[in-house]
Amino acid sequence: MQPLLSQACWDTLYMVGWSTLIAVVGGLPLGILLVLTDRGGLLQNVLANKVIGQIVNVARSMPFIILMVALMNFTRWITGTTIGREAAIVPLAIGAIPFFARLVETAVREVDGGLVEAVQSMGGNTWTVVRKVLVPESLPSLISSTTTTIVALIGYSAMAGTVGAGGLGDIAIRYGYQRFETELMWITVAILAVVISVIQFAGDYAARSLHRRGGRSGPAPKLRLLKASTATGETV
């Protein structure tokens, strides 16, 4: 039982680890691009923004199991197979990229426009703005977004068992559900709970310590604006 579980744990972490990495690498630029191309952005391009936004929306709301099946040909083209851990990473990563991109977009939007203006006034170009302002200033939020993405990917990876990728979800279904080995199922549940808690805690801790250093005082101005408008809405 032990080798079975440790193999499953390893499989899950392997799939989640790689797909998180790819999601961050792909989602970060996509999310930043969504902000930059928006109306009033540094690379304003309404058409591109609409197109990217639409693709992200559709891909993000696609049920994972369908995405996995639909992407089979693509997966085979990339990895040479549609079965196993490597094959599962492809749909996991592709499902997570738009998910992470939206989170990045929200995080980057929170960065004060005045900072962008300041860097422009120093003679910085768009790339400087991204590198020196948008990413470092939204880093605490970006870390939180990564944590959220990892947790979501652990959830998705349970379904990866259907393509023979193994992992904890696969154990829970095959042994716990199909063979009525309830004990094993509960162990996987416990392991998942621990793994998720540890990741969440580590992510929160990292984000908070960065945040404390930066120490923004008070809520973001955007939030206040929103509250003010709802307040006036009530009185009307």
Binding site: E117, G124, G214, R216
Partner: protein, 344 residues
């Protein structure tokens, strides 16, 4: 140093057009502190943003230190290399400081140097030197969140000076600060202006700022400059709105058949006992409605609102006497009186 000609900025949104700047001609001389004052919505912000082309003017030209920035800007919405280079020689400080919260004070000051491609050692030498200059020695490793508002603005100023600019733009730099801190920041700007020969263009809605540090000032209303000149010129201009606002005196006439005068003293005249001379010479009773003495742009200025018995017609001679003494006299309500007389 800074010249704008026919600067116009029109914002278009959903088919509506808003004219923020309506043909602004501004001329800032080298080494002076120039204040643009106006209420919010007057176009001050658009003006200062057009000077380093953070906003693209719809029409008109901007020349800074002999370079026509509008020509460098090119046609696209993004700033080309030449414009960015020109910008790095124009410092800018902001109302809300705009410091990067993820960087230490020193790293914030180094940011413009990073953009300029200065080497690491040189960057930190320069940053520490600038922090000394603005009075923040020992704060290099602190984060902006640990500083007070005044200290944050000092970092902002140090950062703006990192590229050795000849021109400093100040966008309401003291509006988020308390009066005490405002004074110390203005003092710092004044010192930098004198020590480094820095030309400062500032916008503000606080008359005190203009009064404390400006050599010249302009008043903006509805996207136009309605009055401009050196502070002493403005104060010597009869009926100048800016002068009256710079140096307000209150007091209402106590009756209909009274003449109310605003007397402005500067230079020699300020030391003469003109009021008692007037009273003695013409044997009239003078009441003082309001008075103030202040230093504006480094000049001692006094202003007094006095009331003479009788209508304007009865007081032509005493007013002439005051003018002879080199005083500037504004007769209040004179135009209104004339209209009334005409109606009768």
């Amino acid at each position: 140093m800074i010249t704008t000609t026919g600067l116009t900025k029109v914002y278009r949104s959903r088919g509506r057009e808003v004219t923020a700047l309506d043909g602004v001609d501004l001329h800032v001389r080298e080494g002076e502190v120039y204040g643009v004052i106006g209420q919010s919505g007057a176009g001050k912000s658009s003006l200062i943003r057009c000077v380093n082309l953070l906003e693209r003017p719809t029409a008109g030209t901007v020349t800074v230190d002999g370079r026509d920035l509008t020509a460098l800007a090119g046609r696209g919405p993004r700033a080309g290399r030449e414009l960015r280079q020109a910008r790095s020689r124009i410092g800018m400080v902001f109302q809300h400081f705009n410091l990067l919260s993820s960087r230490t004070v020193q790293d914030n000051v180094e940011l413009p140097l990073e953009i300029l491609g200065t080497s690491g050692k040189e960057r930190s030498r320069k940053a520490l030197e600038l922090l000394d200059l603005v009075g923040l020695t020992g704060k290099a490793k602190a984060y902006p969140a640990q500083l007070s508002g005044g200290q944050k603005q000092r970092v902002g100023i140090a950062r703006a000076l990192a590229g050795d600019p000849k021109v400093l733009l100040s966008d309401e730099a003291t509006s988020a600060l308390d009066p005490e801190t405002t004074r110390s920041i203005l003092q710092l700007l004044r010192d930098l202006n004198r020590q480094l020969g820095l030309t400062v263009l500032l916008i503000t809605h606080e008359m005190d700022v203009v009064k404390t540090i400006c050599d010249s000032a302009a008043l903006m209303e509805n996207g136009r400059i309605v009055e401009h000149g050196t502070v002493s010129e403005l104060l010597a201009t009869p009926g100048s709105e800016l002068a009256a606002a710079l140096f307000p005196v209150g007091g209402e006439a106590s009756g209909d058949d009274r003449t109310v005068l605003d007397v402005t003293f500067h230079g020699e005249a300020a030391t003469q006992p003109v009021i008692s001379q007037l009273s003695r010479t013409y044997n009239i009773d003078i009441s003082i409605l309001g008075a103030a003495i202040d230093t504006v742009g480094g000049l001692q200025i006094g202003r007094m609102r006095i009331e003479l018995p009788g209508r304007y017609e009865d007081n032509v001679v005493p007013i002439g006497f005051l003018r002879e003494q080199g005083l500037q006299i504004d007769v209040l309500g004179r135009e209104a009186l004339l209209v009334k007389d005409g109606a009768q």
